[in-house]
């Protein structure tokens, strides 16, 4: 026999679920549908092998009837101690391994690592490389958001058709990545002080054409799906996240902006050449799953704008700083934290150098992991089927969660 729900509520506040940290903000509450009936609580372990958990992720959900009253994420199934491995290899040696963190967005992850190392060693980057980095990062954002939106519809139960529409576009972009870097997903493209390969004019023309045609895909997709009745019913008001809790829990990226917090590192930090670009930061109003979906669509439209400007303004010149030291690279002792706006949120690298060829400390700040902090609060009171959609809208990659 299970305890009554009131007893469970008090247990929740002491055992596991932390009390609300900001008393002014209304915390998510556990609603009881039938106060007079108390059935057995059912514990459902979803994952680690489950198609809707987007990898080897596990959620242990406790159900009262169909409602989730407790949900604990379980991590570590893909843990390979990335940080320790990176501390035992050279700075450049970890660059290909950063591809494997967020394996959908290797270009951005490369850049985040290069950014941190350049900050650590005081390395300058030539103009053309800065533009190429922005081109690659925004193409990666298109890849990531297209994938995410496709998978979100899969989680809603549309069985692959919208996903394959999105994958068709993604495939065109990763074909470009392959012709440039030699690999579809593990691009290993950025270097400390520049980029590895200079794209040919033909490549740039192909990429520019693709970007110009991308809004047509978005229009087509939105016409079919954004106003869909089932989509609206399943996502509006589901998994609400209020801004105070989100800020306190370190949620970043589109998930945070869907709650209406204006915090985009491309604007706030202005890293790279982003201050030269004209783009807007879309913000949500409700912080629900639908807003998180729309945030991705709107960000893709803004990315297209950035890309079109970048192709127009791309200067000629070297792609590597000629003074960049590649062999025997030893930054002097010190530390640096470099971060950028990855497609999933704030992706940071914290490096400590002791003057040797290997970093003394190498830390990845994984947006996927930290964005899961409030997963339980977002799922409380909803059903398992909704929790799948909420998890899909947060957008995680297990290579980065478990590292």
């Amino acid at each position: 026999m299970s305890p009554p729900l009131s007893a469970l509520n008090s247990q929740l506040s002491t055992n596991g679920a932390p009390a609300p940290f900001l008393p002014s903000a209304p915390g998510p509450s556990v609603r009881a549908v039938h106060d007079q009936f108390h059935g057995d609580l059912l514990e459902v372990s979803m994952g680690p092998q489950h198609p809707s958990t987007h990898g080897v992720f596990r959620m242990v959900a406790t159900l009262d009837g169909e409602q989730i009253v407790k949900l604990k994420p379980v991590f570590g199934y893909l843990h390979r101690n990335h940080e320790k491995i990176a501390e035992n290899t050279t700075y450049l040696g970890s660059m290909p391994y950063t591809d494997r963190l967020d394996y959908l967005c290797s270009m951005s992850t490369n850049w985040a690592y290069a950014l941190a190392v350049e900050k650590l060693s005081g390395q300058a980057v030539p103009d053309r490389a800065q533009y190429l980095r922005i081109i690659m990062a925004e193409l990666t954002r298109l890849v990531n958001h297209a994938c995410l939106v496709g998978f979100l519809f899969n989680d809603l139960g549309t069985s692959f058709t919208p996903l394959l529409y999105a994958f068709r576009e993604r495939e065109k972009i990763i074909d470009l990545f392959e012709s440039l870097s030699g690999s579809r997903m593990m691009c290993n493209y950025q270097r400390f002080g520049g980029c590895r390969v200079d794209p040919t004019p033909e490549w740039l023309k192909a990429a520019s054409t693709l970007v110009d045609n991308f809004p047509r895909f978005l229009d087509e997709y939105e016409t079919m799906l954004t106003g869909n009745e089932i989509m609206l019913a399943r996502t509006q008001g589901i998994g609400r996240l209020d801004p105070q809790h989100a800020i306190n829990a370190g949620i970043t990226g589109p998930v945070l902006r869907a709650s209406g917090v204006d915090y985009d590192l491309r604007k706030v930090d202005g890293y790279g050449f982003y201050p030269r670009f004209n783009f807007r930061v879309p913000l949500g109003a409700h912080g629900d799953t639908y807003d998180r979906y729309m945030m991705r669509i709107l960000e893709m439209r803004e990315s297209v704008k950035i890309l079109q400007q970048a192709f127009k303004e791309l200067p000629e010149g070297p792609i590597m700083d000629p003074k960049a030291k590649i062999r025997g690279f030893r930054p002097k002792a010190g530390e640096a934290y470099g971060r950028l706006e990855g497609p999933k949120g704030e992706l940071g690298f914290y490096l400590i150098s002791d003057g040797s060829p290997n970093p003394y400390r190498y830390r990845v700040r994984p947006p996927s992991l930290i964005n899961l902090t409030l997963l339980e609060e977002m799922c409380l009171g909803h059903t398992i089927a909704d929790s799948v959609v909420i998890l899909g809208s947060i957008d995680i990659v297990l290579g980065e969660v478990d590292r």
Binding site: P18, G348, Y350, R365
Partner: protein
């Protein structure tokens, strides 16, 4: 690279006025990023963190990153040079005296704080444990910034820092039965990663005993008859003699 309002040194002075009993030190960063940080004594760390979050001038409402760092014991060698004049009238000789002393190690937790409201940062704060073995408790900052929740669990898991006041301090990435802290600098990988006690060490020890017994002149068959426990691989956890003498399995081991 501190706040837009005040330098880190000014912040330190302000904190010392506000918390006279607290221990606040400026840690300089010699690297080219010049991101300096503030080291807090563990006793007042959470009060100061709350102040940093709620102060209207700073409003550090967002803790981006929490990192564990291991600083093992370091042997520091100091060389003192003395000049000894040559009694014969030649040039003076230099005699070097080396003294070594041990600088005790510690574990450290570093937090990168930003303000989403005022859009400034980072302010980097550090808290250190007393040593690396038995006094590894520091206050958790999860009650101040919820974003430290998983990150402090990860530091507890991989470094062994115990965060006092953390609502749910369990291992995050390694499995619960795992014993050591793999990110420590002196961590040695086990020969096999099975968490269950396996027969390997036990069996290897028996094989060694068996080999020395055979080298002493006895045959394998008499050895198994004399002490069946020596070559029993079926129940390696049991003591010698618990396996039945009637069913020795000499093929399990090669002397």
């Amino acid at each position: 690279m501190t706040t837009s309002v005040e330098t880190l040194e000014q912040l330190r002075v302000r904190l010392l006025i506000r918390f006279p009993a607290a221990d606040v030190t400026l840690v300089t960063n010699p690297g080219s990023s010049a991101e300096h940080s503030l080291l807090f004594g563990a006793a007042h760390a959470r009060e100061i963190a709350l102040f940093l979050r709620d102060d209207s001038q700073l409003a550090l409402d967002y803790c981006s990153n929490a990192t564990g760092i291991d600083w093992p014991d370091k042997e520091i060698t100091e060389v003192t040079k003395t000049f000894v004049p040559d009694p014969a009238g030649g040039p003076a000789k230099t005699v070097e005296h080396k003294t070594t002393h041990l600088q005790p190690g510690y574990l450290e937790s570093v937090y990168h704080l930003y303000s989403m409201a005022l859009k400034h940062g980072p302010v980097i704060i550090r808290v250190r444990t007393a040593n690396r073995s038995d006094q590894v408790t520091i206050p958790s900052l999860t009650p101040v910034w919820r974003s430290c929740d998983f990150q402090e669990r990860e530091i507890f898991d991989l470094y062994g820092i115990v965060f006092e006041g953390h609502p749910d301090l369990r291992r995050l990435l390694m499995w619960d039965e795992f014993k050591d802290h793999p990110m420590r600098k002196d961590y040695v990988e086990p020969d096999d990663y099975e968490w269950e006690p396996t027969a390997h060490g036990d069996v290897a020890e028996r094989a060694k005993q068996h080999a020395s017994f055979v080298a002493g002149g006895a045959t394998s068959a008499t050895a198994s008859a004399a002490d069946p426990g020596l070559i029993s691989v079926t129940s390696p956890k049991d003591g010698p003699g618990s396996a039945s003498p009637a069913t020795p399995k000499p093929e399990g081991l090669k002397p």
